[in-house]
């Protein structure tokens, strides 16, 4: 496995950390960049643990200028960019009747606009290399939209559609674009559920357990690997068999 340069957004979150660790395990030569904002203690800790191989870069994913600056910094140090994992996201759940326009716009910006800006920022580099892997973290909510998540489900469905469309645009250039749809995974979002909600959620999963971040990370790593070269525009569910 040759050395690769990988950018993972949402690098301070549980899933981002697991994805980064997966790529760090893949090859001792891989260079991992974690896109982070003000809340970055876990990302800093991972960068310290893998000094010289894992780095943090300031990145406000909703801002094109921030993307430009982050990609420039990565290229200045690592000279190339092979993989982008658009992982940053958040949700503000409520019934649509009660949802503020701000909650709608913010969730669309963080979950969908960010993917647009990220892809646009890395494409010139990947086109120049005639090689690249983009993996977008969508959600099971994109395919099976639950009540209370009109904003999040719409954003993640948009990510799936963007993935399919962009995959067609860049297929001939050697760039693949795929989406991963995690179901219920043991991350910060799940930790916020109370016991009753967790029990109800687990009851909907045929495997009768929540996923581990490492299990989602394995899917990301597969879609980003050299052997997945003929897979593009696909949506890979990692959900314990819900759908």
């Amino acid at each position: 496995m040759s050395a690769r340069v990988i950018l993972v957004t949402g690098g301070n979150g549980g899933l981002g950390q697991a994805i980064a660790r997966s790529f760090l395990d893949e090859s001792a030569d891989n260079q991992i960049w974690l896109g982070v904002r003000a809340n970055r203690s876990k990302a800093d800790a991972l960068a310290a643990e893998f000094a010289g191989r894992c780095h943090c870069v300031e990145l406000e994913v909703t801002q094109p200028e921030s993307w430009k600056s982050a990609v420039s910094r990565i290229l200045a140090q690592s000279r190339r960019l092979d993989v982008l994992v658009n992982n940053a996201g958040s949700h503000q759940d409520s019934l649509l009747a009660n949802m503020t326009p701000g909650a709608w716009q913010q969730v669309l910006a963080i979950n969908l606009d960010s993917v647009f800006h990220g892809c646009q920022a890395v494409l010139p580099t990947m086109i120049g290399q005639r090689h690249g892997r983009i993996v977008n973290i969508a959600s099971l909510s994109a395919l099976l939209a639950p009540m209370g998540q009109t904003n999040y489900a719409a954003a993640k469905a948009g990510v799936v559609a963007l993935t399919q469309s962009l995959a067609k645009e860049v297929a001939r250039i050697g760039i693949t674009v795929n989406a991963v749809c995690p179901g219920y995974v043991e991350t910060e979002a799940l930790a916020r559920m109370d016991a009753e909600e967790r029990k109800a959620a687990a009851g909907r999963i045929p495997m009768r357990r929540f996923g581990k971040p490492e299990e989602v990370a394995a899917a990301v790593r597969f879609l980003a690997c050299a052997k997945a070269s003929y897979i593009t525009g696909s949506t890979l569910k990692v959900d314990g068999g819900i759908l």
Partner: protein, 93 residues
């Protein structure tokens, strides 16, 4: 004059390699349209690749679609833009 024909040859070579064209460098005329009916048959994805390749190979930035429409008409127009850039006449964005 020798420089210009050498530049056009490099541009054609770049096009054939980057766009994986099924024609040889010798088969591309200097004034042959790149897009549209009766052209070389390039499409918008090819244009995107050309923009990146021009930046990478010649340092020529094509800042927006309007500029691309002017510059990417044929090999002659591309060569002229590269020459303007190399002599300082093309602004870099």
């Amino acid at each position: 004059m020798h420089d210009v024909s050498d530049l056009k040859h490099r541009i054609k070579n770049m096009m054939v390699e980057n766009l994986m064209l099924q024609v040889s460098v010798a088969e591309i005329d200097d004034d042959q349209a790149l897009f549209g009916p009766g052209s070389l048959g390039l499409d918008s994805v090819d244009a995107l690749q050309l923009v990146v390749a021009l930046d990478k190979n010649f340092g020529l930035k094509v800042p927006d679609p309007a500029a691309a429409k002017v510059i990417l008409q044929n090999v002659n127009t591309i060569a002229a833009a590269v020459q303007r850039h190399q002599t300082g006449g093309e602004s870099r964005s």
